[in-house]
Amino acid sequence: MKTRSAGTILATAAGIVALGLLAGRCAPSAPRGAKKAAAVSDIAAAAMKVYVAPGDLDEYYLFASGGHSGQVYVYGLPSGRHISTIPVFTPYPATGYGFDDESKKMLGELTWGDAHHPALSETNGDYDGRWLFINDMNARVARIDLRDFKTKQILGPIPNVSGNHASSFVTPNTEYAVVGSRFSIPIPKGTVAGVDKYATEYKGVVTGVKIDPKSGEMSIGWQILMPPFDYDLGDAGKLASDGWVFFTSYNTERATGKLEVTSAQRDRDYIAAVDWRMAEQLAAKGEGTMIGGIKVIDPAKNPGLVYFMPCGKSPHGVDVSPDGKYVVGSGKLQGVTTAFNWEKVQTAMRNKDFTGDEDGIPVLKYESIKDAEVPVGLGPLHTQFGPDGHAYTSLFVDSAIAKWKLGTWEVVDKVPMSYSIGHLAAAEGDTVSPDGKWLVGLNKLSHGRHITVGPSQPESSQLVDITEEKMKLVLDFFTEPEPHYAQIVKADKIKAIEVYPKEENKHPHAIWDVKDAGVTRSGDKVLVKMIAVRSTFTPTDFEVKAGDLVTLALTNIEQTTDELHGLGLLDYNINIVVDPGETKTVTFKAKKGVYPYYCTNFCSALHQEMQGYMIVR
């Protein structure tokens, strides 16, 4: 009896322990909704979609901003292949950019830039494949000519602008690229006031950069004085809203210090709506006060020029629908994106349906101008559009893209992004006629999506097939640091040349015959005209004197695709590359000694023999 009871007791106790352990749920290893590995058939289908066979060409260009690398990177889609780098704000020895006299002068004193938002030129609201504009935080805007994929002009630093983030969005016929100051400062530059005077003495500005319709040459069109908010992103109105340009702003608290807290106290910040045609007319009439060498227009004195549309707090993107009827903006800390109805906005402007003003700029009543708050998900940042009335909004916090319908405001689908998506780009997705087909998520974090490369991690971008109701993630690829916005344009819209035709080369020092090569001197200034052609530099050697100011003009007389030559002058900071038919000059002070120069850009079987000597006595 006794033993049996002891046995029972122990057995029961053991049972309890076992049950306890069984019932005991432990820490899970994966979330509930964790994706099962994709089926082989799905992988095959995705592979077929993105596979561009050797020798075949991509269907689209992706022009991705390079962020603080200062460059623009060109990828092919759907392959995701990095095809080319266009140096813009930063020297790039690979193409000799920033080493020859002309590009050095264009860069000025700065050898860094922070390029965020490329803007392809437009005609009637559609990409026309002529130019690509891109902003630099250092108050500059650059123009790349897509005929040769070269940076042709850097405008700026533009007076009174500090931190050109809300840029370089273009108007529907590329009348203007815009510039908006992310940082407010006392203006003109050089004026000093402590941050305690921030709310009153610091000013923001928005600027219209006028673009010559023929040459693309940029100049300052107009500048408008704005309250000291941080102007973040922009988009030009189109069709229904043509003539207006929109800028988001944060820190309408006019706070300083720890902005992550102090600028997030109000429930709403603003989207500024600027009547750029009116700005153009005012500028033509000479309206404005001279500040920093340019006329700055005060919107308080010019009613109708600027309005504020309240938006969820700390908004990032503002995006206009293809028909121009909706302006979409989202507070980046919220779970909804707001679609403003442009008709209602105009009605509110007409009826003076205001709730107050900011430094004389009227604030429209939110309830009167919004059509819908679309529950897209957490952390909505930017919106792109498809051809069928669908909109795609990137969600940073949710790390996903939400697809929703304009008009019905219904969220149709979501696709996860790995990880923490910032901007997104749909094929021609910010024009009047989006293509659909492809959507690229430009993610901020890539951890675990690539073979390890150490602590400095690449940015991951992901290609999503949007041809069907359900979005399908089909490709991971890695974009050079650090892409912000990117634009996708149909490849056949770009008509680039592959050699510079000889007859177009108007460079004063261009020579086409080796007989014209050689050294000419005037005083201590020496001009060396040199020819590069497979596989010789002519002259193969030349002599100058120590202290001479030498200008070396190098012409590549090849007229064959891909026959580039480089000239590296050893022990000097000189490395230039000339494309077929191109002439570049580089100017330097000669120092005593013998210095070899050689072709840096592989050209031919006897590339290694393409070399010479500079003798400096």
């Binding site: 006794k2 007791i9 029961t12 106790a13 309890i16 899970p28 994966a30 979330p31 952390g379 790390s399």
Partner: protein, 209 residues
Amino acid sequence: VKNSLQAVNRFLDAPVDVGPRALLVLAFLCLLPTYLTPLYNMTMFAPQYPEGLRLDIYSYKLVGGNDNQDIREINVLNHYIGMKDLATEDFTEFKWLPFVVGIFGLLFLRAAVLGKVSHLVDVAVLFVYFGAFALWSFGYKMYQYGHNLDPKAAVRVDPFMPPMFGYKKLANFEVYSYPQLGSYALAVAALVLGLALVFAWRRWRRETA
């Protein structure tokens, strides 16, 4: 009334058998994991954190996953919603809990040696009280973290109660909260004490019948 009180006294004075004494030793053993393994685990998944952020709560310390980095990460994320940092110093439980569990260990052994029903009742009642208090204390701590949010925080969320057992979706995070071996062992200790009482009662009934 007098009779039944006398009966209770007789029961309380009754010696306990080998079985319940063995169970007391087993209950003692069930206290040991408190010092070795976590009592609770919270695991948080978000799209950006596919491996999850992990927090193990021991009786005397907090341990984050990924060599403790996860605590830092959790605190960085929580600062956006104005939540107080998770800090070992704020858990007063860490100071008294291991000590109290040690006392219970000694009391269990004492009851096993002295072997009267009254000793068994004492430790069982005190232990259940202790368990309930510890659970309340943990829940209250969770409640405070979820409710004392800085009103000036960048992201304002409604006050919330983190899950005590199971799953809850909080913003972009899936939060899973489960007791761990240490807690389960404590629960088993309580069950074992109850069982010891039942056996002692049944034997006393049999013998007094």
